[in-house]
């Protein structure tokens, strides 16, 4: 195969585009998460995120979060045009620091939960949810 200057240039552009696209998606998510944490270091453990491995439709995906001792839990869909999903703030009378809801996912992606604990520290959990598309578009 003979590489012309134009072909080389096109290949380089293709590589750049491939590298940039997922990065852009996660940059918006990084920003959204940093807004919630104030840029603090985020650990792991003590937070359970429950989401289906495969969602039959991205329009209504049931998820649950549970972080004993948390003051708030934020949920992000890192592949959505806008990654923010919800923030649960637990009050004095919360019976547990857990909640369930139904969310929209634009496609297969990681769902991320970040909990702010009572001592001001942050922990994170994430899970990939594969979003399927219908049989013949119906």
């Amino acid at each position: 195969m003979k590489l012309t200057r134009r072909a080389t240039l096109l290949m380089a552009m293709g590589t750049a585009a491939a590298a940039v696209l997922p990065f852009r998606a996660s940059a918006a998510a990084e920003d959204a998460i940093a807004t919630f944490t104030g840029g603090a270091t985020v650990g792991a453990g003590g937070l359970t995120l429950t989401a289906p491995e495969i969602a039959e439709n991205g329009n209504t995906v049931p998820i649950s979060v549970d972080a004993p001792g948390a003051v708030s839990i934020a949920i992000f869909a890192v592949g959505n045009p806008t990654p923010d999903v919800a923030i649960f703030n637990f009050g004095a009378l919360s019976g547990s620091q857990s909640a369930s809801t139904r969310i929209r996912l634009a496609g297969t992606q990681d769902v991320v939960a970040v909990a702010k604990m009572a001592d001001g520290s942050f922990v994170k959990a994430s899970q990939e949810v594969k979003v399927t598309i219908g049989g013949c578009g119906g």
Binding site: I54, E56, N59, P62, I133
Partner: protein
């Protein structure tokens, strides 16, 4: 049953592990609100003449998460629309100033056995009527009210309400007698290939149920759960609107909801579910 399970498991495995996890637990049983038992699997009615051995509700083909949403009326968003239908049931409308309740009283009693036998032949009108057609006949002839649009908002709410009070009763649509001609027309439509994809209803829902069509788990296309709340569009969907979607997806010109062809098809498809429970409003993907 064993064979169907096996078939879907093999197919899912063949299409990759991803497909396997999408397949629901077909042995799960549907109990609504912890007390209302729903028949989701039954011996196929005799008129199917061996085309199917067992009929399955669409519920068994759905993922665990979707199945669970139908097991509690609070979790089932279709019940929002049932509540609207219930309010309409008690609202007087039209020149006669009557509500549904004025003639039919408490729907939980008077409508209990209704959903299961529709569509059915109406002697006076000498036609097969879907439940929606009967609702409109009541509105225009008894209430002096305007007909509601087929398969749209208020009509689906009312149909969902009447279905909801019949949940658990067994579908038993008459296929013979005066309904036979329409039933045969519906059967012919069911087996007629349409569109550029050249597919009949039977190609997917009789010959390939349990298999994956792309990432979707094909059901038998039973309509005992209609109207159904679809996660896809987050609202109630009517039977004939769904027919239209299916036919359109074969890339064909479709009949319209309310057309004689779709009325005949609804009668026929409903009869294929004889033996299953009324389930509407169900939750589907």
């Amino acid at each position: 049953m064993k064979k169907a399970l096996l078939k879907s498991a093999i197919c899912a495995a063949a299409l990759g592990g991803f497909a396997h996890a999408a397949a629901a637990d077909e042995s799960a049983s549907l109990v609504i609100n912890g007390e209302l038992e729903i028949v989701t699997e039954a011996p196929a009615p005799a008129h199917l003449d061996g085309a199917l051995r067992t009929v399955y509700s669409g519920w068994v083909f759905r993922s665990d998460e979707t199945q669970v949403m139908q097991m509690d009326d609070f979790d089932n968003p279709g019940m929002i629309f049932v509540e609207s239908g219930m309010a309409d049931w008690n609202t007087a409308e039209g020149t006669e100033g009557k509500s549904c309740a004025d003639c039919h009283g408490d729907a939980e009693e008077s409508m209990r056995e209704v959903r299961a036998v529709y569509p059915k032949w109406n002697d006076e009108a000498e036609e097969v009527r879907t439940l929606q057609m009967q609702i409109n006949a009541c509105r225009t002839e008894q209430m002096g009210a305007e007909a509601l649009k087929t398969d749209a908002g208020s009509m689906l709410n009312m149909e969902a309400y009447i279905s909801s009070v019949g949940r658990g009763t067994i579908v038993n649509v008459a296929v013979d007698g005066p309904a036979q001609a329409a039933w045969e027309q519906g059967r012919d439509l069911y087996y007629t290939r349409t569109g550029q994809l050249d597919l009949s209803c039977a190609n997917c829902h009789e010959q390939n149920y349990g298999n994956m069509i792309r990432a979707d788990h094909l059901s038998q296309g039973q309509i005992n759960g209609f109207p159904t709340y679809r996660l896809k569009n987050a609202k109630l969907n009517g039977v004939q609107g769904r027919f239209k979607g299916c036919v359109r997806d074969t890339m064909a010109e479709t009949y319209s909801p309310g057309s004689p062809e779709f009325v005949a098809l609804e009668l026929y498809v409903a009869s294929r579910g004889n033996g299953l429970s009324v389930e509407g409003p169900s939750v589907r993907n």
